[in-house]
């Protein structure tokens, strides 16, 4: 009884905050709604037994990326925000229509895939990660990350290094 209640509450709040993010007039408000959205998604991860990912979500997204966005919002003068001048709303309508088409497509895919594999493993509610293991989800994830996915992990670290250098080069006034 409790699980559906938690899920529906979180789902409604996540989508509502997402809508607020893209409809807010001021970019600062948008960033704040985005923080709320990330925290709620972290709560959703906790209900899915992904505690490590929830912590990473809070630390990297809500703590790191959003602060980066806030810095940029503060650096960029918002005196002449783009949407204040009148423009043809036609493009916006086209965007909405395209997004609705994407939504219909995604929902259709979800229904088809869930009915097709319903007899197999999908309806089996897996008590996935053994609770008795010392360290729990974090240790399990660490084992998988450092054995099966070692090379992708190293590649991601290289990617982060390259992105860091690239961001410095781009943002610097002159080298």
């Amino acid at each position: 009884m409790l699980e559906p209640l938690v899920f529906y509450t979180l789902a409604v709040l996540i989508v509502a905050l997402g809508i607020l993010v893209i409809t807010a007039r001021s970019a600062v408000h948008s960033v704040l709604f985005l923080v709320g959205d990330f925290l709620l998604i972290a709560a959703l991860y906790v209900t899915l037994n992904a505690e490590f990912l929830a912590v990473i979500q809070i630390m990297v997204y809500a703590g790191g990326i959003v602060v980066l966005y806030l810095f940029v919002v503060m650096l960029v003068s918002l005196k002449h925000a783009p949407e204040l001048h009148a423009d043809s709303r036609r493009l916006g309508v086209i965007g909405m229509v395209l997004a609705l088409v994407v939504l219909v497509e995604l929902v259709a895919i979800a229904y088809v895939s869930s009915t097709r594999s319903a007899g197999a493993t999908v309806t089996r509610a897996v008590q996935s990660f053994p609770v008795g293991v010392q360290g729990g989800n974090t240790e399990e994830l660490g084992w998988v990350l450092y054995t099966d996915y070692l090379i992708p992990f190293e590649l991601v670290s290289m990617l982060l290094l390259v992105a860091m250098v690239g961001a410095i080069v781009l943002a610097k006034r002159s080298l």
């Binding site: 992904a50 990912l53 783009p82 994830l141 991601v156 990617l159």
Partner: protein, 102 residues
Amino acid sequence: MLEITPLHYTLLSASLFMVGVIGVLVRRNIIIIFMSIELILNAVNINLVALAHQFGNLSGQVFAVFIIAVAAAEAAVGLGILLAFYRNKESVNIDEMTIMRW
């Protein structure tokens, strides 16, 4: 209705994805467009984590970790580009990014 299946998570993910897509297509402020991209990546992450939970396989969570790392890299580079653009044009309107358009 009361049982929470992966379909519910998929539908939540699709809704959040659509919110992000609408943000990318409709808004003109490039900072908000970047935030919409973060929403899209989070929608994908919800999907991955829900299916990892369903199948008892941790690969989904590992991929979610990778997506978070790539999102951080994307945010850093994207905001660097944004700052360079703002320095040249004094604007964050995506309609004025027409130099490479033919």
